[in-house]
Amino acid sequence: MDEGFEPTIIAFVCNWCTYTAADLAGTSRLSYPSNVRLIRVMCTGMVDPKYIIKAFLEGTDAVLVSGCHPGDCHYINGNYKARRRMKLLKTILPQYGFDEKRIKLTWIGASDGIQFAQTIRDMVVEIKALGPNEAKQAAVV
């Protein structure tokens, strides 16, 4: 295992809950690794499977999709739809060697800054153990 491996995680966070939590983690100066790249979306239900496929093909080591708790969704039920799409991707991508652990869905509420930081920390540890995404260096898109 490459000791110096620093995984890159793309996090699609919903504008209402998890983005607020991420912000809160920032303003509370809860240290969490800089491995995460936040992409704000209005709703997790907006995350097109293409985005995640693209992210993996471009070499991200993991993708986190995080939104409001069930029932909390600003848009009523977008998070439930996201959950189905994540199930789909968690079925397709592992067939081609993208470890299922690299694909995560969580609900992180606006006041859960600590949980956000913890989730990222845990993910970094987990992905470090898995090693880099195999597609990272492959000349494929």
Binding site: T8, I10, N15, W16, C17, Y19, T20, A21, D23, L24, G26, T27, S28, R29, S31, Y32, P33, S34, V36, R37, I39, V41, M42, C43, G45, M46, V47, D48, P49, K50, Y51, K54, A55, E58, G59, T60, C68, H69, P70, G71, D72, C73, H74, Y75, I76, N77, G78, K81, R85, G109, A110, S111, D112, G113, I114, Q115
Partner: protein, 1141 residues
């Protein structure tokens, strides 16, 4: 013609204040929203989860139409609306004038930390040596004297607690932007002249005062003093009386001649007291006796300073005022405190418990014992702490604590270990809301929460185990003692701490319970015209009720503003015009704030990297954008042509919503083509705590690049809008329908009121008066008259809706009137007020004996004098007949109060009458509790029963009465009542036709009531915009409550009717028809019903007003035929690319 508008003032920024402010702002009025706290949100900023959904969702209160006018982020993070002027740390100190033209005096707490320049870095907190109890965490945990009042609030500006701050000045030194002025400008401007012949006196006074931040000059003699006074401006003089040469009194006289307003405090030794008194007559403010304590002197100066500051307080004009002052929580440590609160650390209040399990709480979310951090296995909730307690002056029910405790017990079950036991000790479990009974049942059956009837009298601590011992009465004569790890006190709501003062300022009254008094049949009207009440300021309320009452208050405020001609009309500016750049290649100008260079970030390198993207036209820097000069420089730079997208790299993107809008108007660029990227916060995100300059730089570049990418993707198409037919349809002519119709018609819009019966009035044709003694019949009559005479209201009696199509802004509804041809009405919104009626029953001998009647029949027989109470001996009453169990598993809210009303009436007629009430839980929420007490005092006997052991009724042939037998749990025996009259409380059932709801696309819940879009935050809306409901159609409620919902629903409707067209928000979905295959999957996934297929055009249409921009359609669409502005797939993929660089 420009609309006439007038300003509204909303006092209190909790839920009801925010709701009222938003309601009025969305209707087009400018609003000033003040709160004495340094943040908005009230108690809700401390509650992560709220019943009955056990989640948040506060953001659902934000504007749904004209979304761009408001903030588009978590509401707990803060609020922005272009029509709302938010003033925190501000109090109302005076209100003068009349409805339509009030002059309001505001007093703002001085800012120790300049909110304009504070960047929220938190360096100050790190160095602050003072620690005090953290009030955000309900006193659990510690915070510093300089702190973030609410951690998730934006902008995250620090504040200083003046009471705790020792003025050590540590923070001033470390603040990177110099935002902290500990001895604020105000005090430095307040210069004091100290006149004394004794050097030591002058000098020490000077030293004391300067330490407090005041400017001080000294004079050794009267002459010198007068000379200084002519040369310099002073705000205050401290004057020694006995001086050689000109003495103090003479100096005073001369000073007063030149500066009659000058505050002069005399200093004197005992011997000259008489002279001092003399000086007071000459105009001295006060005198101080030598030798004096420095603290006395300083506090006197501060008092003078603050009085002067207060009188300086800003004045604003407002046409109407809404008080949303909220409530305070009962403090169980006062009084007898038999529960050991603050004595045993594991005894906490409900609010403290909430903080304990919160992610932003002191324990970071784990459920552990505060005393030793050990996991909690047994928790007890004790209800009615400070409620229903005459000894603590609360002969009322706080209404929310039962549900609050159930919610907390459920959360505890979720957060705690699997074996966690949660027990709620209660007297009556009050679940009078729409879904509350099922919520309680779910807690019991699904979560395993234990409900134990009984009041715990004392909490002891077991010395050996440290556990808390509770003893309480069991069934019959048993006494049970049980040990718990933690005890949560369900503390009641008390009147807000400033209630008395605010009522005085507003010239309105408080009621016997200390809450703001309301007028009959209104939860929002006060004695004083133009001043209204929202939320729990007028009595304990939960979120939905607060939202409703705020809506009711804002409607009344709107009526006032409208009726008084708009009051202090402020003219809205012209709609800004933007240059059409839709055919231009995207060219982005990036402006970087130089503050960003804090921390060795090289803006040069960033600029070079950004320019590698051909779409980036140029990268420029501006100094400190947060300062006025910086902003001017930015505007100047932005005015230089050559670009069509603008990206600003600065801190706190939230702070720029309004500024970007202004900038857009100035440079004629659509604000949706501008964005702000945070180039400061990445500093905080450091690798495992170690700041890394190059990583930071990379992070900033990535953020900017994705910002660029997002901007490129924005399609600057001219905004379309949805036209509005400015008329409303109201279905149902009961009290709710009539009130809603009048509320809208009074704003000058047409209303069609459809009623299926031959006359208006609904249930008020049989309901004659209320428990408070108000005349319901007269109230209804008055409403009917006003409706009939209103030129804007068209009445359609004997009529029903047969079909409708259309969407918000334009519906076509066909109504059928008996013996007439159907007509089609065009309207912009619809309010459903179809009401409900008394449920029927076959239980308890109903129909088998004339002695068994329903509550409605009792009301009718009472007023027709058919029953002579003097001739009967015994009355039995059974509550919850068919209610609160499946299939009608909801509380009808009104029956318990109705029972009490009848008891008091019957007892008045015949004091010797024996009355026995068989009940499950008396739902006398709020002030109705007082009538419960009264009914008991009048001698009625209340006997509880459970669904497993209901009362049994025997009707004997030929007998005039019936006998009721039931188990009396305290006597542990069956008891029998031979009653002359048996009254059954059968509850309320809705009369909302399914076809009607379907016609408008509104949902119906399992019980047949109107399905609200969200039970807490949108209690009057349907998910389909433009369709609202009020009154009993929503759920069972009293007349006053129905009126409130009607007014609030009217207010929801006015948001739409007040505009000729609703414009499209910048994040809205649209369809690229040439790509669309019409698979309609987008229609299926749209939560708002904003999409439809136009068969003729073979197109999928999006109603831009109903669409909220969630993008569920876009991700469902396989080929990007459905897109959301601002989130175009091509750019999203590019952003993914960017962030991986």
């Amino acid at each position: 013609m420009k609309p006439k508008i007038g300003r509204a003032l909303v006092v209190g920024g909790g839920i009801s204040g925010i709701r009222a402010a938003l309601d009025l702002a969305e209707t087009g009025y400018p609003v000033t929203l003040v709160d004495k706290a340094p943040h908005l949100g009230g108690i809700l900023s401390q509650l992560d989860n709220q019943f009955p959904t056990n989640h948040c969702g506060m953001c659902k209160m934000l504007p749904l139409v004209e979304r761009d006018a408001g903030s588009q982020y978590c509401l707990r993070k803060g609020l922005f609306h272009e029509n709302i002027d938010i003033r925190t740390s501000t109090e109302v100190v005076g209100i003068e004038g009349e409805a339509g033209s009030f002059t309001v005096r505001l007093k703002k707490q001085p800012d120790f930390v300049n909110p304009e320049t504070c960047i929220g870095c938190g360096e100050c907190t790190n160095v602050c040596p003072v620690e005090v109890a953290d009030d955000f965490n309900a006193g659990l945990g510690k915070r510093k004297a300089v702190y973030l009042p609410v951690p998730h609030m934006m902008p995250n500006t620090y504040v200083i607690d003046p009471a705790a701050c020792t003025r050590c000045g540590e923070c001033v030194g470390v603040c990177p932007t110099g935002a902290i002025g500990l001895f604020r400008q105000g005090r430095q401007d307040f210069s004091v002249l100290v006149v004394d012949d004794e050097y030591t006196v002058r000098d020490s006074i000077k030293e004391w005062l300067e330490e407090e931040g005041f400017s001080v000059e000294t004079a050794a003699s009267g002459e010198e003093a007068l000379e200084l006074l002519t040369r310099q401006t002073f705000k205050m003089v401290l004057l020694d009386i006995k001086m050689p040469g000109m003495d103090g009194v003479e100096v005073l006289k001369k000073t007063k001649e030149i500066f009659p307003e000058m505050a002069v405090v005399m200093m004197t030794a005992y011997a000259t007291v008489e002279t001092a008194v003399e000086a007071m007559k000459t105009g001295a403010m006060e005198y101080l006796m030598k030798p004096f304590d420095p603290e006395d002197l300083v506090s006197k100066v501060i008092a003078v300073y603050e009085t002067q500051e207060a009188s300086k307080g800003e004045q604003i004009s407002a046409g109407t005022v809404i008080f949303c002052g909220g409530t305070s929580c009962y403090d169980p440590s006062v009084g007898k405190n038999t529960f050991g609160y603050k004595q045993y650390p594991d005894v906490v209040t409900g609010l403290e418990f909430e903080r304990l399990i919160s992610g932003t709480g002191p324990g970071s979310g784990g459920l552990v014992r505060p005393s030793d951090g050990k996991p909690v296995e047994k928790i007890a909730w004790i209800q009615c702490v400070g409620s229903r307690d005459l000894q603590s002056g609360s002969d009322y029910c706080s209404g929310i604590c039962c549900m609050f405790a159930i919610k907390e017990a459920m959360l505890a079950k979720e957060h705690g270990p699997d074996n966690l036991e949660a027990t709620i000790f209660y007297m009556d479990m009050r679940t009078p809301g729409k879904t509350f009974q099922r919520f309680r049942d779910r807690a019991e059956t699904e979560y395993g929460v234990r409900f134990t009837r009984g009041r715990v009298h004392t909490v002891y601590q077991d010395d050996k185990t440290g556990k808390l011992l509770l003893s309480y009465p069991g069934d019959g004569s048993k006494r049970i003692e049980s040990a718990f790890d933690m005890v949560v006190l369900s503390t009641g709501q008390k009147p807000a701490s400033g209630a008395e003062r605010l009522a005085e300022v507003g010239d309105c009254e408080l009621n016997q319970w200390g809450f703001a008094a309301t007028e009959p049949f209104s939860s929002a009207e006060t004695k004083k015209a133009g001043i209204f009440l929202g939320g729990s300021f007028s009595g304990p309320r939960d979120i939905a009720e607060s939202v409703i009452s705020a809506g009711s208050a804002s409607l009344l405020a709107s009526v006032t503003l409208h009726a008084t001609g708009g009051g202090m009309a402020e003219v809205v500016g012209d709609t800004p015009e933007y240059i059409d750049v839709s055919h231009q290649t995207p060219k982005v100008r990036v402006l970087l704030c130089e503050c960003g260079s804090y921390g060795n970030v090289d803006l040069e390198i960033i600029a070079v990297s950004l320019k590698s993207d051909p779409a980036v036209e140029d990268v420029l820097t501006v100094p400190g954008v947060c300062t006025a000069e910086g902003w001017d420089a930015l505007v100047k730079t932005a005015k230089r042509k050559g670009y069509n997208r603008l990206l600003l790299g600065a801190c706190m993107p939230y702070a720029y919503t309004r500024r970007i809008k202004d900038l857009g108007a100035e440079v004629m660029l659509d604000p949706s083509l501008m964005d702000v990227v945070d180039i400061r916060t990445p500093w905080i995100i450091s690798t495992d705590g170690i700041p890394n300059a190059s990583a930071t730089q990379q992070a900033i570049i990535r953020n900017l690049k994705s910002g660029v990418s997002r901007l490129i993707g924005i399609d600057p198409l001219p905004k379309s809008s949805v036209p509005v037919i400015r008329g409303a349809l109201v279905v149902g002519g009961g009290v709710a329908g009539m009130t809603a119709a009048l509320s809208i018609a009074n704003h000058g819009y047409d209303v069609a009121l459809v009623e299926k019966e031959t006359g208006l009035g609904g249930n008020l044709d049989w309901l004659k008066n209320t428990i408070e003694g108000w005349d319901a019949a007269a109230f209804s009559e008055n409403l009917q008259q006003r409706v009939e005479q209103h030129p804007k209201i068209g009445r359609h009696l004997n009529s029903t809706v047969i079909s409708s199509f259309g969407e918000v802004g334009c519906f076509y509804t066909t109504i059928e009137t008996r013996e007439a041809a159907p007509v089609t009405l065009q309207h912009g919104v619809v309010i459903i007020a179809t009401g409900g009626g008394e449920a029927g029953t076959e239980a308890y001998g109903y129909g088998k004996s004339p002695a068994v009647v329903t509550q409605k029949e009792l009301e009718q027989k009472t007023f027709s004098k058919e029953i002579d109470y003097k001739t009967i001996d015994t009355v039995a009453m059974i509550q919850c007949v068919g209610s609160r169990e499946e299939p009608r598993n909801y509380c009808s809210r009104v029956c318990c109060a109705s029972t009490l009303k009848h008891i008091l009436h019957m007892k008045k007629e015949n004091p010797d009458l024996s009355i026995y009430v068989f009940y499950r839980d008396m739902m006398t929420y709020g002030f109705t509790e007082t009538w419960f007490t009264e009914a008991r005092r009048a001698g009625a006997v209340f006997i509880p029963y459970t669904v497993d052991a209901r009362p049994e009724v025997m009707v004997e042939d030929g007998a005039s009465g019936v006998s009721v037998t039931a188990y009396e749990p305290l006597l542990e025996a069956r008891v029998q009542v031979n009653a002359d009259l048996l009254v059954l409380a059968t509850g309320i059932v809705p009369t909302l036709p399914v076809s009607l709801a379907n016609a408008f696309g509104a949902g119906i819940d399992d019980d047949g009531f109107f399905m609200e879009a969200e039970p807490k935050w949108r209690p009057l809306d349907s998910l389909k915009e433009g369709v609202f409901a009020c009154g009993i159609a929503l759920g069972p409620r009293s007349i006053t409550e129905s009126v409130a919902t009607a007014q609030a629903a009217a207010q929801r409707a006015l948001r739409i009717l007040s505009k000729t067209a609703l414009s499209r928000a910048s994040v809205t979905a649209r369809v690229r028809h040439s790509l669309c295959s019409l698979c309609e999957r987008c229609i299926d996934v749209c939560p708002y019903g904003a999409r439809s297929v136009d068969i003729d055009m073979q197109r999928v249409l999006v109603n831009a007003t109903m669409c909220q921009g969630c993008g569920n359609c876009a991700s469902e669409c396989p080929n990007s035929a459905s897109v959301v502005d601002g989130f175009f797939d091509g750019r999203m993929l590019d952003m993914i690319d960017m962030v991986l660089d």
